[in-house]
Symmetry: C2
Subunit: 315 residues, 2 copies
């Protein structure tokens, strides 16, 4: 007797987790935009290292107004679409329901809580490598674990309530590894330790992770950016332990050469998630009196490149 | 009864100033590498906004050992060739002569003074827009003024001696505008206020000066980098006045859209003058306890891009 789910944004990530839930027997409703025709007629295909499967029929919607209210609304749009949230969220989430934010970056849960103030907001940090290779066709390459944490006002540390436990159970029943945290803010900052240097530099320097690690100068820059993220976390009262940075560097060194999600967005000329990943952490730390100069430098460089990438070049 | 001149590095800059001096009647000896055959047979051509001229015969050399000792040795190589200075300088400069450093960046005069300790070293900051459009064929686009300052140990403030006056007179006779300074170090830092942001960002962001100025984010980044250069100057005891930064920004806004010299080098896959323009100022400030984090970020990004630009890409 699990929850009903709405997937707002059926890209690689939303499509993957939604499909896994439906396959496990849960009722799932998918919001789509460009892939609506394909998916409403032919369903979803998931090619996965854990086993391929097809869902010939899914509940597909083009407009959020047509969707039934659900227990759990999964926010899996890119954050660059978050200006749409006031139109999307209120009509689809049940009173006493949950919005589960499966997006990157900092501060999104607080934005969501302002829009739907009478529901619980839960943040989820996804460690997933998946691509959409065609409309309704997802390739799950590796990983898939989610860290779940409840949002409470100003990102205070929380307990582990019934709702988050129920969601964790549903996802685990669907074969997705779940970890629970009482400190969502710390988890968000820790993910930024990786995302800020690698997403940023991969776009600015047109480089894969292995290239950034092989060069002594960018290695040093990555490391220093990580220390700035730790300083940002500290400004909000969260201590990332000393050994976390060498662990992240070591982990990246051992990874398969990797094109980051921001680099893929850039190469496809899609808008970059600069505000969620860079802007919000910078403004948060700044409001607490802490400047992060090298992250600021990357932020400004990315804003320029993103704008130029999506507008006609005048050269 | 002027000086005799050796031009070490007959590119656009060395070729232009050397040709102007010879045209005015001075004895000039030119060191060449790739253009030797062309220039030794056909001389130099200068197309200039101040009037075109040709020198059908010039004293051209392939090896510094064949050159006569001169009163003034003009160092007009790219700084990326400065590892050659111990082989080049000692045999060509007269005892009691002068080495005139017409290179970009910080700290070169001190390096030269270590190699030829019994001659005077003078620094020259060139505000010249010129390109070599073919072997021995120089296009002088605009400007040409030089600020001259004597180097003394540790860049102390100096007087204006006879030698620098003589050189200034020779250049002025050749139609080159000269300004004299008693504070070479301050002049060098002031030039870096422009060179560091625009040379660096033009390469990293593939952008002209006008694009960097039109975008609010890179405008802010340029401005902040300028403040870091001012902080670097201050670490060495030099105060760049408050109104210098708005003046530089305004000046750049009014410039013709401009591809910086470092961007031209990058596009031609030539080595970039990163150490002279970024590395030396950073190390100087660092040794005095001052970190310049955003300049460091640019330095590390440029080191990566320069390496990748000149080596086989492994993607």
């Amino acid at each position: 007797m699990g929850c009903t789910y709405a997937i707002l944004g059926t890209g690689a990530l939303g499509g993957f987790y939604g499909a896994k839930l439906q396959k496990a027997g849960y009722t799932v409703h998918f919001l789509l935009r460009s892939d609506y025709q394909q998916v409403s007629h032919n369903g979803l295909i998931v090619e996965s290292k854990d086993g391929d499967f097809t869902l010939p029929q899914v509940n597909a919607y083009q407009n959020v107004e047509e969707m039934p209210r659900c227990d759990v609304v999964v926010l899996s749009l890119k954050t660059t679409q978050n200006h749409l949230l006031p139109q999307l969220l209120p009509s689809v989430v049940k009173d006493n329901g949950v919005v589960l934010v499966l997006q990157n970056g900092l501060g999104i849960e607080a934005e969501v809580a302002k829009i739907v103030s009478h529901v619980q907001v839960i943040g989820g940090l996804c460690f997933l490598c998946a691509n959409k290779i065609a409309p309704g066709h997802i390739h799950h390459v590796d990983y898939g674990r989610i860290i779940l944490g409840e949002y409470s006002s100003n990102y205070q540390i929380t307990g582990i309530g019934d709702k988050i436990r129920q969601i964790a159970l549903d996802f685990e029943n669907a074969g997705i590894e779940i970890e629970l945290t009482t400190d969502l803010l710390l988890a968000r900052w820790k993910k930024l330790v990786w995302n800020i240097p690698y997403n940023g530099l991969s776009v600015i320097l047109n480089a894969r992770t292995d290239e950034l690690m092989a060069d002594e100068y960018t290695y040093k820059l990555v490391e220093n950016l990580m220390y700035e993220v730790v300083a940002g976390a500290k400004s909000t009262g969260r201590n990332i332990p000393d050994n976390f940075i060498p662990t992240m560097l070591d982990y990246t060194n051992k990874m398969t050469p990797y094109r980051t999600s921001m680099k893929i967005d850039y190469d496809e000329r899609r808008p970059l998630e600069i505000e969620a990943i860079f802007g919000n952490p910078l403004r948060t730390a700044q409001s607490l009196g802490v400047n992060l100069p090298q992250i600021t430098c990357l932020y400004q460089q990315l804003k320029f490149l993103d704008w130029k990438n999506r507008n006609i070049s005048y050269s």
